[in-house]
Symmetry: C2
Subunit: 348 residues, 2 copies
DNA sequence: CACGGTTACGTAATCGATTTCGTTGAGCGA
DNA sequence: TCGCTCAACGAAATCGATTACGTAACCGTG
C-alpha cells in the first residue's frame, strides 16, 4: 500500500486540548471517565469534543494499551456451508464486547495459512478463532511459534492443544432424532451415515444405537449404510437399497439433510407415503430442509450458538481468564416437520 | 477489554538494534529495503532479526504510516445466501494486496450500522465495502459525516454516491438464458419472475423480452408471472398455473433457482418430461441447482468476481486512485445442465 | 499560622515503529 | 595537504493516544 488520499486532517486529541485550553492528559481523562477532572473543565472538554467532532484514534490507543479489541477468524473455507452461521455467532459475541472481527481465508493451503497467521499476530490480534486447526499445527514437523495470544478451535477438535475446542453434540443430536422416531412409533429404523472418515459419524451412530437399544428396539445392522459422500445422490442410492431389502425400514435417519433429501426422492419414487409408510429425519437443518416436500424433520446444528460460545470463551481468555484443554459440546435441537409428523399429528 | 495475558515480552525493533549494535533507524531501513545501509551491517541486522524471531508491530507501523492495510465489509446480513461468495471475492482481492478484511454485521439495524461505521473509522480502516448502503445514508435526515475513507457498494446500488456500485448484469444473464432456450428450439417460454420490488426483476424481464422479440418469438404476456417471494413454493404454484393454461409453455425460466426448483416439482407432478416436454432454467446457481433432478441449467451470479472487482476498485482508490459515481455490471455465466439439455444432446 | 492532605490539572515518558536531518569518515582531485 | 562529495549510519522528532508523577491551590486542624 502506498499513500492514502486523505482530505481534511483528522482532529486529534491535541486539537481538542488546545481549543479547550487544557492539556491532552486532561482530555484523555474525560475520555476515559477518570475521577480527577473538575466538573466545569470536563464539560468544556466534552463540548469541544462534540463541536470538533473528535474521535479517538483506535490505532494510537491500541499501541499504547497493547490490545486492539480485535479478534480474527482463521478459516480454510470461507464458502463452507456452515461458515456463515458460525461467523455470525462469533460476531455476535464479539459485538457484545465491542470487539471487531477480522477474517482470514486460507483455502486449506498451509502456506497461506501460515502467512495469514503471521500477519494476524503482527497485527496484534487479541485472540484467534481457528476453523482449520489441524493444518496450523501439523502433528509432525515444526509448528509455528506458539502465540502468547489466546485462541480457540471452532468446529474442529484439537486433541493436543491446551485450549477449548467447540463442537456440536453429535451424539446428543442423534439421540434426539432416535427418541423422536420411537415416540412416533417407529421400530425399524434405517440409518444412512456419512463417510466414516468424519468423526461425527461415529458419535451419531453411537447416539442412535444407544437410544434404540435402551428402548428395546435395537438398530439392525442390515439397516445401516455408510455413504461415500454427504450428497443427495448417495442418499438416494442407499435409501433405495434399504427400501428394496426384504424387511424395509419404517423410518430413515440420514446423517445430513442432503442424504435425507436423497432418501425422500427414493421413497417418493416407490410411491410410498411420507411419513405414513416411511418417516424421514435429517441432520444439519440447512435451509433446504424446510423447502423439501414434505418439509424435513431434522436435527439442527447449533452453529450460531457454537460461534457465540467460541467468541465468548475466547474473549474471557483475552480478559485474563485461564485456558485449558477442553472439549465443549453444544447441544443440537430437533426441528419437527412434516416428514415425520404429517399434518394433524401431534407427537407424544 | 481489560488487561491481556501476555507471557514473554515480544521482541521489538529496539531489541534487534541493541543486539545487532546499530540504531533502530538502521534496523528500520533494512526492514524497508532502503539503500543507505552497508552490506555487512544489513546482513548482521538480518541475522539478528532471524535469530530473535523479530516481527514488526503492525499497529505501531500503522500509527506512523497512517494506514492500516485493512479494509472492512459492512453488511446487513452476514448469513445471506450470497454473502459468503461475495466476501470470498473481496478477501481474494485484498489478499493480493496484502490487506486484511474486517467484518461488521448490522442485522439491518441502522443504529448498529452507525455504531459499526464509527468504530471502523476509529480503527482507521483504509477502505470500506458497503453491502447495506441504503441504510447507512438515508435519503432523508442527516447522514453520517462523509468519511475521507474510500468506499464502494457491493451488490447494492447507491444512486447518489460519488463511488462505484458493483452489481451483477441481470439483464445480460436473462439474455443468456433466453438465447439458450431459443437455441434448443423453444418458442413458448414461460417466465416466473421474482417480487417486483426487486430492481433485478425488471432487468431480467427486459433481457428476456428483448431477446425473444429479436428472435421473432416474443414473450407472451399470458406466460409471465410475478411471484410474491423467491421461494420454491411460489415457483411451484406459478408453474402449475402456467402448465394448466390452455397453451402451456415448452420452457420455464425461473428468476431464481428456488423458483425454478418449484417449477421442476410442478412439472414432475404432471408427468411431463424434463427437458423434452418442458425445459427449465434458473437463476443464481446456488449449490442446490446441481443437486436437482434433473440438474438445473441456470444463470450463475458472478459473486466471486463481483467481490473481487469491489475489492480491486476499492484498493485502487486506497492507493490514490480517483473515485466517481459508476455502475459496474459484472457479466453472468450460463451453466448448462440436464434440465435443458438431456443426456446426449449438444446445443447448437 | 504552619502543616498535612486532598483536589485538579499539567509535564513528560511511553507504546513501537518511520523518517528527516545531521554527522562522521573515507575517497578523490587539485 | 586541503577541501569537497558521497556513502553509511545515528539522534531525535513524530504518529496519537495513555499514565505515572509532580505541583499548585485550597481545605481544615491544632
Amino acid at each position: 500500500m502506498a499513500s492514502a488520499n486523505s482530505t481534511a486532517q483528522r482532529v486529534t486529541i491535541r486539537d481538542v486540548a488546545s481549543v479547550a485550553g487544557v492539556s491532552t492528559a486532561t482530555v484523555s481523562k474525560v475520555l476515559n471517565d477518570r475521577p480527577d477532572v473538575g466538573p466545569e473543565v470536563r464539560q468544556r472538554v466534552l463540548d469541544t469534543i462534540a463541536r470538533l467532532g473528535y474521535r479517538p484514534n483506535a490505532v494510537a490507543r491500541g499501541l499504547r494499551a497493547r490490545h486492539t479489541d480485535t479478534i480474527a477468524i482463521l478459516t480454510d473455507d470461507l464458502e463452507g456451508i456452515f461458515t456463515n452461521a458460525l461467523m455470525r455467532g462469533v460476531e455476535d459475541a464479539a459485538s457484545a464486547y465491542d470487539v471487531s472481527v477480522l477474517l482470514a481465508n486460507s483455502y486449506g493451503d498451509p502456506d497461506r495459512e501460515r502467512k495469514h497467521l503471521r500477519r494476524l499476530l503482527d497485527r496484534q490480534m487479541d485472540g484467534l478463532i481457528i476453523m482449520s486447526g489441524n493444518r496450523v499445527r501439523p502433528r509432525s514437523g515444526p509448528a509455528l511459534p506458539l502465540p502468547a495470544t489466546p485462541y480457540v478451535f471452532l468446529y474442529e477438535y484439537a486433541a493436543t492443544e491446551p485450549v477449548p475446542s467447540i463442537l456440536p453434540d453429535d451424539r446428543g443430536g442423534a439421540v434426539l432424532a432416535a427418541q423422536h422416531l420411537l415416540d412416533i412409533g417407529r421400530r425399524r429404523i434405517g440409518f444412512i451415515n456419512g463417510p466414516a472418515s468424519w468423526e461425527a459419524t461415529a458419535d451419531r451412530l453411537d447416539g442412535l444405537t444407544a437410544t434404540l437399544a435402551a428402548a428395546g428396539a435395537p438398530l439392525r445392522p442390515a439397516l445401516i449404510r455408510h455413504a461415500a459422500s454427504w450428497s443427495p445422490q448417495d442418499g438416494y442410492a442407499l435409501a433405495t437399497e434399504l427400501l428394496d431389502a426384504p424387511e424395509p425400514p419404517d423410518a430413515i435417519f440420514g446423517a445430513s439433510d442432503d442424504l435425507a433429501t436423497g432418501a425422500l426422492a427414493a421413497i417418493h419414487e416407490r410411491g410410498l407415503r411420507i411419513p405414513e409408510d416411511v418417516a424421514v429425519v435429517g441432520f444439519d437443518d440447512r435451509s433446504l430442509a424446510v423447502h423439501q416436500r414434505p418439509p424435513l424433520t431434522t436435527v439442527a446444528l447449533p452453529l450460531l450458538e457454537m460461534g457465540r460460545v467460541a467468541g465468548q470463551r475466547l474473549l474471557e481468555a483475552v480478559n485474563g481468564g485461564q485456558q485449558r484443554h477442553e472439549l465443549i459440546r453444544v447441544p443440537c435441537e430437533l426441528r419437527v416437520r412434516a416428514s415425520t409428523v404429517g399434518a394433524g399429528h401431534t407427537p407424544r
